[in-house]
């Protein structure tokens, strides 16, 4: 089958699926009418450009090769293919690492503070630090981010301060969201990070719409939408993929496949080749990456961004990772997975330790720096927490503002 050949060829180039891009260009020519060519012995149906088959063959899911997992480093932080190593300045990689540690510390302290009853709720990003920092670092600062809820690291990379995070979690009067939403529902216009809402996947078609607006504005920006593999089961994911492909939108769909949607494991979430497997079906350029390899995530996001903006086309990235933390503070994951499993993942494939080893091999990081930064971040977050707790709650009148642009008579 030609499709199989195409798919096999596709996997020869791991990073960006060039043959697929070519085939999509052919398919997305935008012709509005179908002109049958009676002399050419090819199918002339308006719905497909394909070829005849004279022998019956059912195409099974296993007829396709699975998307490979692109990586740059091995689990010890060693570069596997020097030509794939991003040539990043030491300060830049160090900043990535420091942000991951800060994120980790913030998660630890805020998680504990919830357990102490000081904040009402929290969601950690343990285990997924590389997906967040690696992708955020590859974007332009003003690319619009639509997050799901576990993308604290993206906003942290963009300079949203620890005080701002903590104030949101307390819902005090310094919270930009004015105390209206649960903790971790961050948003910042200044950081081009659209405010998070709890419903899953609603952000995906919205991201496509924003990308379309950017395309018409011709402003060189793109949009990135983060979501989990569970969220990809929602109808909005289908809507978004299909709209982005048909309307040629410069949007990056970034799937964090962390193995679990609350308790539901991936094998009960889908049957095909993960989320990446959806890409070709929608006519979307697609890549799968080792989400625990910060440099690989950086590389695929950078290449995807360049492609999206240059071609005004969507890209689907599936980052494979593992959720080390519970779904949220309302969840105890030991009810559906063993502590041994979590422990094994934490020690076997930690994104933080992998980047640390890379830095160490480069001679850019050492134990003294590690100790000192960890101590500094802990102080930073604890001080912020102590301070934010004492900051007053917003004025009660804020409960009624911003429902509409002007307050209606019923509320005033």
């Amino acid at each position: 089958m030609a499709l199989q050949r195409c798919t096999k060829h596709l996997f020869n180039n791991v990073r960006v699926c060039t043959s697929l891009i070519q085939s999509m260009k052919m398919c997305s020519g935008g012709s509005t009418s179908v002109n049958p060519k009676p002399d050419a012995d090819t199918p002339i149906f308006p719905g497909v450009q394909s070829q005849w088959a004279e022998s019956l063959e059912l195409i099974h899911p296993h007829s396709y090769n699975k998307f490979p997992v692109y990586r740059v480093m091995d689990r010890n932080g060693c570069i596997l293919n020097p030509s794939e190593e991003p040539q990043l300045e030491s300060e830049f990689v160090e900043r990535m690492y420091r942000t991951m540690i800060l994120l980790n510390t913030m998660d630890t302290v805020l998680y504990e503070s919830q357990r102490q009853g000081r904040i009402s709720f929290y969601m950690t990003t343990f285990g997924e630090e590389a997906t967040l920092i690696g992708s955020a670092a590859a974007l332009a600062y003003n690319d619009l981010v639509y997050a799901q809820y576990r993308e604290t690291g993206v906003l942290l990379w963009r300079g949203f301060s620890v005080d701002q995070f903590v104030s949101q979690c307390f819902g005090n009067c310094e919270d930009e969201g004015k105390g209206r939403q649960m903790p971790v529902h961050y948003g910042s216009k200044n950081h081009h990070f659209v405010t998070i809402s709890s419903p899953l996947t609603t952000q995906l078609p919205q991201a496509v719409g924003s990308a379309y607006a950017y395309k018409l504005a011709n402003n060189g920006r793109c949009v990135i939408a983060y979501f989990g593999e569970g969220a990809a089961s929602e109808g909005d994911a289908h809507a978004a993929f299909n709209f982005a492909a048909t309307l040629n939108c410069p949007v990056i769909f970034f799937c964090r496949n962390n193995g679990y949607a609350i308790s539901t494991p991936t094998h009960e979430q889908y049957r095909g080749d993960g989320i990446a497997g959806h890409g070709p079906g929608y006519g979307i350029t697609t890549v799968r990456v080792d989400g625990n390899d910060t440099l690989a995530v950086y590389q695929v996001t950078k290449a995807s961004r360049e492609y999206a903006v240059k071609e005004n086309r969507p890209v689907l990235i599936e980052a494979m990772t593992y959720r080390l933390g519970h779904h949220s503070t309302s969840d105890d994951s030991s009810a559906y997975r063993s502590l041994a499993e979590v422990k094994e993942w934490g020690s076997l494939d930690s994104p933080i330790s992998r980047l640390r080893q890379y830095l160490a091999l480069k001679g850019w990081w050492d134990d003294a720096k590690e100790r000192s930064w960890k101590e500094e971040t802990r102080k930073m977050v604890v001080n912020s927490l102590t301070r934010a707790e004492k900051v007053l709650k917003p004025d009660w009148k804020e409960m009624f503002h911003d429902v509409y642009y002007d307050m209606p008579a019923q509320l005033s």
Binding site: P205, A217, F243
Partner: protein, 378 residues
């Protein structure tokens, strides 16, 4: 409470569709339920004064004129939805793609949650988005995007982000033969989501001015278009741009006997009922077009009720949880001591919208008139 069956029987007596002996005539019954039109008389507005040149337009053309005006005046504006490119199944977007290009006027895939979600995203990024949902009956896949997303965008972000530049248009209401899924009036579902504005015009002049107001409004709006009026309603509509106020009800007929409240097509039925009451009962009813379902004009409604002491609210949507219930509740809170009779709701029944039984289902002039008589003799 009068049972639906009893109400139908009462209607037979009023309309003369039953035999003189009170026995139903199968032939007449058959004739009545095989009609394919909604029974109402469109009551055109007087030509606008001071708004310049006018042109004869039906409601469809008035919508087209509003969209055209928007695309000319707002370079960011986009118009999209299923089948929008060739002019739309109701022809409201006719010739817009030819005039403004495929980037600004385009087909979307067949997916309402995608259409609305996409529209929200356009609006968040600063683009004026006018999305078409082909039938209000098919808006429900987008319920989440409208209720959980569009309605709450400004509030949840502390006014950092909003989607006020989004307007969702949808063909709405009974059309004579639309049955369960081409007839519904789902406005009350959306009235329950603070943050959305819901607007329904009664004719071409209102449609153009209100649609332009919705598009320019800083909050997301749902604009329900009574599809039976698309061609039936013709008025002299100002050619240039104009807007009409949202959240403001219109007192169309002044009176002191009974306040009749409706919106969309029902307004024309209520105007006819007011005429019938004047002629047959020698009383003057006050007719109010609510125009905006939410946030609604409590003041205009209550001022009228305080004057008349008697109220009928009529809508095509089913009774239970219909917006008439909300209006009724507010009236009893605000005007209790002024009321001379219980507020009456004349609405569709608590059934799905039926095909051949549509004439029985709708709150037509006879059912409304019957309610007027009852409230006057309470």
């Amino acid at each position: 409470m009068v049972s639906p069956v009893l109400r139908l029987c009462m209607r037979y007596r009023v309309t003369g569709l039953s035999s003189g002996t009170g026995q139903k005539s199968p032939a007449l019954f058959h004739k009545f339920i095989t009609k394919r039109y909604v029974e109402f008389n469109f009551s055109p507005e007087k030509p606008c004064e001071g708004k310049g040149e006018t042109s004869r337009m039906n409601l469809c053309q008035a919508i087209n004129s509003a969209l055209h005006t928007t695309l000319v005046n707002d370079p960011t504006a986009v118009v999209f939805g299923e089948d929008v490119a060739f002019g739309g199944v109701f022809r409201c977007t006719l010739d817009l793609q030819k005039r403004f290009g495929k980037d600004r006027v385009f087909n979307s895939p067949l997916c309402e949650q995608g259409i609305v979600g996409f529209g929200i995203g356009c609006a968040v990024a600063g683009t004026t988005a006018v999305a078409e949902v082909q039938f209000a009956d098919y808006i429900f896949p987008a319920f989440d995007q409208l209720v959980n997303e569009a309605a709450k965008y400004r509030y949840r972000s502390g006014n950092q982000f909003d989607c006020g530049k989004l307007t969702v248009r949808a063909a709405w209401g009974a059309v004579g033969h639309g049955s369960l899924y081409h007839s519904q009036s789902p406005e009350s579902f959306f009235a329950h989501a603070a943050g959305l504005k819901i607007v329904i015009p009664r004719g071409p002049i209102k449609a153009k001015g209100l649609l332009l107001a919705c598009i320019q409004d800083k909050d997301p709006c749902i604009f329900f278009e009574p599809k039976v009026l698309y061609r039936a309603a013709v008025e002299d509509v100002p050619v240039k741009e104009y807007t009409l106020p949202l959240g403001k009800a219109d007192v169309l007929v002044e009176g002191d006997a009974v306040t009749l409240i409706g919106w969309g097509t029902e307004v024309h039925i209520l105007k006819e009922v007011a005429d019938m009451a004047k002629e047959q009962l020698k009383v003057q009813c006050e007719v109010i077009d609510l125009v905006t379902i939410n946030p609604w004009d409590v003041e205009t409604v209550c001022n009228s009720v305080k004057k008349t002491g008697r109220v009928i609210v009529a809508h095509e949507a089913p009774l239970t949880g219909g917006f008439a219930s909300e209006i009724t509740a507010v009236i009893q809170e605000e005007c209790f001591l002024h009321l001379e009779a219980p507020v009456q709701r004349v609405t569709g029944f608590d059934t799905p919208f039926p095909h051949v039984f549509e004439p029985f289902y709708l709150p037509d002039k006879w059912r409304c008139f019957d309610a007027v008589k009852k409230t006057l003799t309470y």
